[in-house]
């Protein structure tokens, strides 16, 4: 076999895609593969493309081995493990030239389904499973572990690392562990015997994953809630958000239960719907607890009325929108950034809301903590806008750290002594000139009592239908939103010394954009990058937009919602903005951005926008 420079070039740099049938236990085998590579110190990306189904529909898992640490999809498939007969023809087509396809050769494939430009490897997985294991279910499950074993041989994944991981998963279930190890070894031995192992595409140990973890964004966000001191979580199950509350619950069971009494320092309520979920969050926040709800687009649609109340009555709330494909029910198990405008202006009347845009699980953790501080400081709902890609896929992130000096910012809440000293308490009065009034909690002092209402109120807290009194309050709310600009996390920048081309993006596009910057640079195109982390936009966003003459706005929806928000809420000249839109429902690949920008700026040297 050729050990050419080209094959050397693919060391720790290729993509495996696994085509499976939902509900056959493939997820554990696929994450075993990914985690083994991670434990070998090699940066890795894993994406799960699963159906809205419990059993039977096709599902794919994509593992990118990425020595350079790129966390987005590359747009290629070098090795396809085609375990689903139903999608075989499509999966075969997707393999990049020079790649490999592995299939279960227990049943021969039709002669028509062939490709000359790739290598097809057959492994009789079902036959070997049937010969070795008893029971239909065990045979189906272990077939997956068997292909993982074969891949270990083909790719040079260390078998001991895989054994150790299986040991961690099945530690106390010896019989299960034994059969898994056996399946792994049978697959490994078969590949060793029948193929020239390893393939030119292979892995070799590195040291680039120490001080890193593999974690999904929903779990990281739940950790953020735990560390922010959230005590009330209310939710209604909606894909792709439930794992956030599942994780919060399991962290609370471990860390928030009194070991002696068994009593809980938290309350989790599974509500009857999203309307009740946000209602209970408002009730709890109004009463001085840190409260949150995880949901997705359809849930936000339902919550709109309460969100408007929270805005106008100035009640803190933290809402996680794990975005999925819309409109309507859309594709619940696919990813998009399609709720930006919905969240920014949620509810009837003049409303604007604070949005945070984490780009990966690490930021889900830190920005979740900040979301609670902002919600209480600003006395308003704060949305943490993640998506299915961030929320449900395992991402490689730096190990999360915690500063023990952190104390929650509970905002302007008057305590008993402060209320005692007041002559009278005015709930909506702008004493400090920053648009943020003072609030009191129930049960503290009769002088602090006020009437919270979504109907017209004056700055003292009384009911009003007087035009001037009404306007004083809504104008102050506008000032409060100005104050928010200085408090929200600022944008992050990557400068490539271009004064012409800028790329602006948000959230989970980040990995694809960063890789695209490198790929473009190799083509002689230099672009500066700004990743916006919050709405309202700060001064730094205005400046970046002003400084660049051609700006590509990269986002994951059809209608360029983020670009719309930029044009509505900044002074940017609309004519400078170009959209790069990706809305297939799959996570974004860098190729979309590279192709989009090259199509606009053409070959290097053609445009003045292209760098020196």
């Amino acid at each position: 076999m050729l050990q050419s420079a080209e094959s050397q070039d693919r060391l720790n740099d290729f993509v495996i895609k696994l085509a499976n049938v939902n509900g056959t236990g493939s997820a554990s085998a696929n994450s075993l593969l990914m985690k083994s590579i991670f434990r070998m110190g090699i940066p890795v990306m894993g994406k799960n493309y699963f159906p809205s189904n419990i059993q039977g529909l096709p599902t794919w898992y994509e593992i990118r081995v990425t020595r350079d640490g790129y966390v987005a999809r590359s747009g290629r498939v070098d090795i396809m493990v085609a375990m689903n007969a139903e999608t075989y023809a499509k999966d075969l087509k997707e393999v990049s030239p020079g790649g490999y396809l592995i299939y279960d050769s227990t049943w021969p494939r039709p002669a028509l389904l062939k490709r000359e430009d790739i290598t097809i490897l057959g492994i009789p997985l079902a036959r070997m499973c049937n010969e070795t294991f008893q029971g239909g279910r065990a045979r189906i499950l272990l077939k997956n572990i068997m292909y993982a074993g074969a891949l270990a041989a083909l790719l040079d994944i260390e078998l001991d690392v895989m054994r150790a991981l299986l040991g961690e998963s099945y530690g106390k279930k010896q019989a299960l562990l034994d059969s898994n190890i056996k399946a792994l070894e049978i697959g490994y031995a078969y590949a060793k015997e029948h193929f020239s192992c390893p393939l030119p595409l292979r892995v070799a140990r590195m040291d680039k994953t120490s001080n890193h973890i593999m974690i999904d964004g929903n779990t990281a966000a739940a950790l953020g809630c735990l560390y922010a001191g959230a005590t009330v979580g209310v939710w209604y199950p909606i894909t792709p958000s439930p794992s956030l509350m599942d994780a919060f619950k399991s962290f609370c069971q471990k860390w928030r239960v009194d070991p002696e009494t068994g009593k809980r320092n938290y309350v989790i309520v599974q509500a009857e719907d999203e309307l009740a979920a946000i209602g209970a969050v408002l009730g709890a926040s109004w009463n001085g607890a840190r409260a949150f709800t995880p949901t997705s687009g359809p849930g936000i649609s339902l919550m709109n009325e309460f969100i408007g109340l929270a805005y106008y009555a100035e009640i803190p709330a933290v809402i996680f929108d794990v975005q999925r494909v819309g409109p309507s029910t859309g594709m619940p198990t696919r990813t998009q950034q399609c709720d930006i405008l919905l969240a920014a202006y949620a509810s009837h009347g003049d409303t604007r809301h604070v949005l945070l845009f984490p780009s990966n699980p690490e930021e889900c953790f830190y920005l979740s903590v900040q979301a609670f501080d902002l919600a209480e400081r600003l006395q308003t709902p704060v949305f943490v806008m993640t998506d299915l890609d961030i929320g449900m896929n395992d991402w490689m992130c730096p190990t999360l750290k915690w500063d023990d000096n952190y104390r929650p910012d509970r905002g302007k809440v008057l305590d008993k002594e402060q209320i005692e000293q007041l002559e009278r308490f005015y709930r909506f009065f702008d004493k400090d000139g920053d648009g943020i009034p003072y609030r009191t909690l129930p049960g503290v002092h009769p002088k602090g009592a006020y009437f919270t209402r979504g109907s017209g109120h004056n700055q003292y807290g009384g009911y009003t239908e007087d035009s001037t009194e009404y306007q004083i309050v809504v104008d102050r709310l506008k000032r409060k939103f100005e104050t928010a600009k200085q408090l929200v996390p600022s944008a992050v920048f990557e400068s490539r010394n271009s004064h012409d081309i800028g790329i602006v993006s948000i959230g989970s596009c980040d990995g694809a954009v960063r890789e695209a910057l490198d790929l473009l640079e190799r083509r002689g195109v230099h672009a500066d990058y700004m990743r916006v982390r919050a709405f309202p936009f700060g001064q730094e966003v205005e400046e970046f937009l002003a400084q660049h003459s051609l700006i590509f706005v990269v986002e994951q929806n059809r209608d360029a919602q983020f670009r719309s928000l930029l044009t509505l809420e900044t002074a940017v000249d609309k004519a400078k903005l170009r959209s790069i839109l990706h809305y297939s429902g799959l996570p974004m690949a860098s190729t979309v951005i590279v192709d989009g920008i090259l199509a606009e700026v053409g070959a290097p040297g053609k445009l003045k926008a292209v760098s020196r």
Binding site: V267, G279, G283, D404
Partner: protein
């Protein structure tokens, strides 16, 4: 509405409760409802009950949705926080507020429009969770603020002010609450303060969801001939089957009752409700029997009133959730964060 604002002066001879506070200190803003509105009588009864129980005003939390009845939370106990939320969704606000602080008294005031239509789901789930609150429905069978449309509690055959006859069957909140598993269900009439005040006191002391459906006629849109929710009709057709008298802790029972006539129910704080069965065949501790009895009487066009069902054993929301004894909005941050050491341990799982 009445335009005469009452001066906030306290005459030294006004009676004081155990906290040394007079009834005036439990009043609220001036009512903006129509003169003669049944709801104002309910407001007065709540004021009286909270005063008599000597509850500190700031320990009272008043919650409501949208509608005439929901406005009334501004008209009593101005020393307690009020929350006038959105239509029908007060139970969820209450759920969250109660989750945050279990040590306050929560009074929800709603109407038949608010509770039995858009709010029916939240009402049912508040009962299901047995959240510790008093939930009063001021039931008049009609939408007042939008000028007289039928509500979901309007009876078949009842006539609107402009003559239209209702043809759909009503949803009865008492029957619904009993079937949903409510632990305290009462019905009363806004014109019967004697009956209403002790019921409110008992409801406030009940650990769990206490419903009082108060027939509270709408003087403007539903008090005419042909209406089944008019003062005249209700007065004529309401029948108290279980009289409830409230006796605070440490107070002696002074009234004389014949043996077997009275069923004392001891509340969690030692206070007692003395249930006097006016119909000997009725049993307010048997859910199925109570349900059948109320249904049968309703079918005859009669409103059975009094404390109709009580269950002191079913655990309320916080007991079910095994929440800590300290209200969770008062837990120090140190009790909530696992700290950097905890995070390092947690991180081990994600290597």
């Amino acid at each position: 509405m009445s335009f005469i604002a009452k001066p906030k002066v306290t005459h030294p001879s006004l009676p004081k409760n155990e906290l040394g506070l007079t009834r005036r200190e439990y009043e609220g803003a001036m009512s903006t409802l129509c003169a003669g509105c049944g709801h104002d009588s309910v407001t007065a009864a709540i004021t009286e009950a909270v005063w008599a129980l000597s509850i500190r005003p700031e320990k009272v939390v008043k919650l409501s949705g949208i509608g005439c009845s929901s406005k009334t939370t501004a008209y009593f106990v101005s020393g307690g926080h009020g929350f006038n939320s959105v239509h029908g969704r007060m139970p969820s606000i209450a759920t969250g507020a109660i989750a945050a602080n279990k040590d306050l008294y929560y009074i929800g005031v709603s109407g038949d429009g608010d509770t039995l239509s858009i709010g029916f789901g939240q009402f049912a789930h508040a009962i299901r969770r047995n959240i510790n609150m008093l939930y009063i429905i001021e039931n008049n069978g009609v939408y007042g603020l939008t000028k007289g449309q039928f509500s979901a509690s309007a009876d078949i055959g009842t006539k609107a002010k402009r003559g239209e006859e209702n043809v759909q069957p009503p949803i009865d909140p008492v029957v619904a609450a009993i079937t949903l598993g409510a632990t305290f269900v009462a019905r009363s009439f806004s014109g019967d303060k004697e009956q209403l005040v002790p019921l409110i006191q008992a409801g406030l002391k009940h650990k769990g969801f206490a419903l009082i459906d108060v027939l509270s006629p709408c003087v403007t849109f539903n008090d005419h001939e042909g209406s089944t929710k008019s003062y005249a009709y209700v007065r004529d057709r309401y029948d108290e089957v279980v009289d409830a008298d409230f006796v605070p802790p440490a107070k002696e029972i002074t009234a004389q009752y014949a043996a077997g006539e009275v069923l004392p129910v001891t509340m969690h704080d030692g206070s007692r409700i003395l249930l006097r069965k006016l119909d000997p065949s009725y049993d307010p501790t048997r859910r199925g029997k109570a349900y059948n009895y109320i249904r049968d009487r309703l079918a005859q066009g009669e409103y059975v009133t009094g404390l109709l069902y009580i269950d002191q054993k079913s655990p309320e929301f916080h007991r079910v959730n095994e929440t800590t004894d300290v209200p969770i909005n008062q837990l120090p941050y140190e009790a909530l964060s696992p700290g950097s050491g905890g995070l390092a341990k947690i991180m081990g799982r994600y290597r």
